[in-house]
């Protein structure tokens, strides 16, 4: 059966009025960036356990159904398993000091390899979680405002931050549109006898290929319409023009609390990481 949009939930804002959703987008972005750096840096399971507690708190505060967030991991799991296997099989350590569990030709399974690969997977899961959480809890308008505010210093040295932000936002916005488009095309083809649910992996992939041409054409058409619509509303304007903001961002106590907690988390986990590096 053809219902794609149910499985692809990445990046859809859920407006439930929770405290997390109402936070200042600048704080959210800042915290997200800090956490992304943190997750990329950590290499201790204990430290990640502390992060898990933080995420649980965040999850509880956001009032987004946990099952829903977890389900968005699903399309991704096969890929993770693949990465895990490759990493384990081709693990090489600098010191060559490995506990071999299994060995065949150039493929090795070592205890260290398994631990290192598990760490990679945990890291990827955390990174995915924090980015999808940011998008679940932040509306597109907020996201743009926040990014513009944070990147505006770059404007001074001649980098067009605003334009970059706009490009990014449009890209995000197009994801659900493309999903609906693919769904429509798949339905049209299914109604004319294509069976997307039959055949092996290669046959199924071949069936997707004919969707690409119409998808690209409609994508370009949309982009063209959008650019005309933006120009019609004076986007860009002249050098020296600045867009004013209808809504002012304000940093309140809850923001300070969250930022404080995030910084505390960074500090604690980094210390844990130094004390017990695995």
């Amino acid at each position: 059966m053809i219902e794609l949009s149910r499985d692809i939930t990445f990046g859809q804002y859920i407006n439930n009025g929770s405290q997390v959703a109402r936070m200042d987008p600048r704080t959210k972005l800042l915290c997200a960036v800090l956490l992304i750096i943190l997750f990329s840096f950590l290499s201790s399971f204990i430290a990640f356990f502390v992060c898990l507690l933080f995420c649980a708190l965040l999850q509880w505060n956001s009032r987004i159904p946990t099952g829903y967030v977890l389900r968005s991991f699903k399309p991704f799991l096969g890929f993770l398993v693949f990465i895990f296997c490759i990493e384990v099989l081709f693990y090489t350590s600098a010191t060559q000091n490995k506990t071999l569990l299994w060995h065949w030709a150039f493929l090795n399974v070592s205890w260290e390899g398994i631990i290192r690969s598990a760490m990679t997977i945990v890291r990827v899961l955390f990174l995915y979680y924090i980015t999808s959480m940011l998008l679940f809890a932040t509306s597109l308008v907020d996201l743009t405002d926040g990014m513009e505010a944070l990147l505006s210093p770059l404007q001074k040295i001649g980098i067009p931050a605003n334009a970059f932000v706009m490009v990014l936002v449009i890209a995000f916005k197009f994801v659900p549109i493309f999903v609906t488009e693919v769904e429509r095309l798949m339905k049209a083809q299914a109604a004319r006898g294509v069976r997307f649910d039959q055949g092996n992996f290669i046959q199924r992939t071949m069936k997707i290929a004919p969707l690409l041409v119409p998808l690209f054409i409609s994508g370009f058409k949309r982009a063209e319409t959008l650019s005309v619509a933006m120009e019609a509303r004076c986007y860009g304007g002249r050098p020296g023009w600045r867009r004013s903001k209808r809504r002012q961002l304000n940093f309140d106590r809850y923001d300070a609390l969250v930022l404080g907690l995030t910084l505390a988390l960074c500090l604690i986990t980094v210390v844990i990481n130094f004390v017990s590096p695995v």
Binding site: M1, I2, E3, S5, R6, T9, Q12, I14, N16, I64, P65, G67, Y68, R71, E181, R184, L185, K187, A188, Q189, A190, A191, R192, G193, V194, P210, L211, V213, P214, I217, S218
Partner: protein, 299 residues
């Protein structure tokens, strides 16, 4: 019965914060060889029904019978529906996906591995059935066609599959009055010539009043009421409450209610409206209309 829906429920994005109830306990039946219209405002669940009848989505609960067999039972071969039901979707742009008209119309036959000569004959017949010249149109690019032509090509693509039922999902949306009239004529002609069953989905009654044998009026995933076009028009005020546009003649009849309280709203066309006005006016002595200086002939 061709199709029978019994107590069908459906929810989009089930289990997510975006869940939307689309059908809520809908039951209806679509007979063979007739034109059945599904009419309702937005969010009435019309497109969901279309997808379900085409075997593209599965109801959350309830049953859908195709010629007496449960469509979503494991023993049912979905190919049976796919080969006998053709769908003309809401926007023809989404339906046409090949570069040229000929390739697009022949998509179905090629999928079915129909021999080349046979496929060519089907394409020719289908294009001619929708009033497009085969030699002229077969090598044209689909993206350069006009709105009305695209719709015709989409219909031809469905006809090439030789279906027994065609579902039209708001086919006249976005067409100019002439294109719309031609489309309705085409559908009537196809039904007679090819002996098809037609399911016509529309948001207004204008298209279907002269076309349908039975009309189902839907509201928020439930059946509001059903009947022949005449029976449906008798519910003028309920239709207005659902924001369903009435056909021109019925609209005038409703507007005349202030002056002619006894006027019936179930008039199918302007001739019937005229007869009704004369009848009512004759009955009440003709005071209101001629009093206001309007003669029925002008109407």
């Amino acid at each position: 019965m061709l199709f029978e829906m019994k107590n069908v429920y459906h929810t989009y994005m089930r289990g997510t914060p975006f869940a939307v109830d689309s059908l809520r306990g809908l039951s209806l039946s679509i007979p063979q060889g007739q034109t059945t219209a599904l009419v309702g405002p937005t969010k009435a669940g019309k497109s969901t029904i279309v997808d379900m009848l085409a075997g593209l989505i599965k109801p959350a609960s309830g049953t859908l019978l195709f010629e007496g067999d449960d469509v979503f039972a494991s023993s049912f071969d979905i190919e049976r529906i796919r080969s006998s039901v053709g769908v003309v979707f809401q926007s023809p742009e989404a339906q046409i996906f090949e570069e040229t008209v000929g390739k697009d119309v022949s998509f179905g036959p090629r999928r079915k591995k129909v021999p080349l000569a046979e496929s060519r004959r089907l394409v020719k017949e289908s294009l001619e059935a929708v009033g497009l010249d085969y030699e002229d149109f077969r090598s044209r690019y689909t993206y350069a066609l006009s709105g009305g032509q695209k719709r015709r090509v989409a219909i031809a693509g469905v006809l090439a599959l030789q279906p027994r039922v065609i579902i039209f999902d708001e086919p006249s949306a976005g067409l100019d009055p002439r294109g719309r009239r031609e489309l309705l004529e085409l559908i009537t002609r196809l039904k007679q010539q090819q002996n098809l069953s037609i399911v016509y989905v529309s948001s207004g009654l204008d298209d279907v009043i002269g076309l349908a044998d039975t009309i189902y009026v839907l509201d928020r995933g439930r059946l509001a009421f059903q009947g022949t076009p005449r029976e449906i028009l008798a519910h003028a005020s309920e239709l207005a409450a659902l924001d369903i546009a009435l056909p021109e003649a019925a609209q005038i009849a409703v507007a005349l209610r202030d002056t002619l309280p006894n006027i019936r709203t179930d008039v199918l066309n302007l001739n019937e409206l005229e007869a009704e006005i004369i009848r009512v006016e004759g009955g009440t002595g003709g005071i209101p209309l001629s009093g206001s200086g309007v003669s029925p002939e002008i109407l």
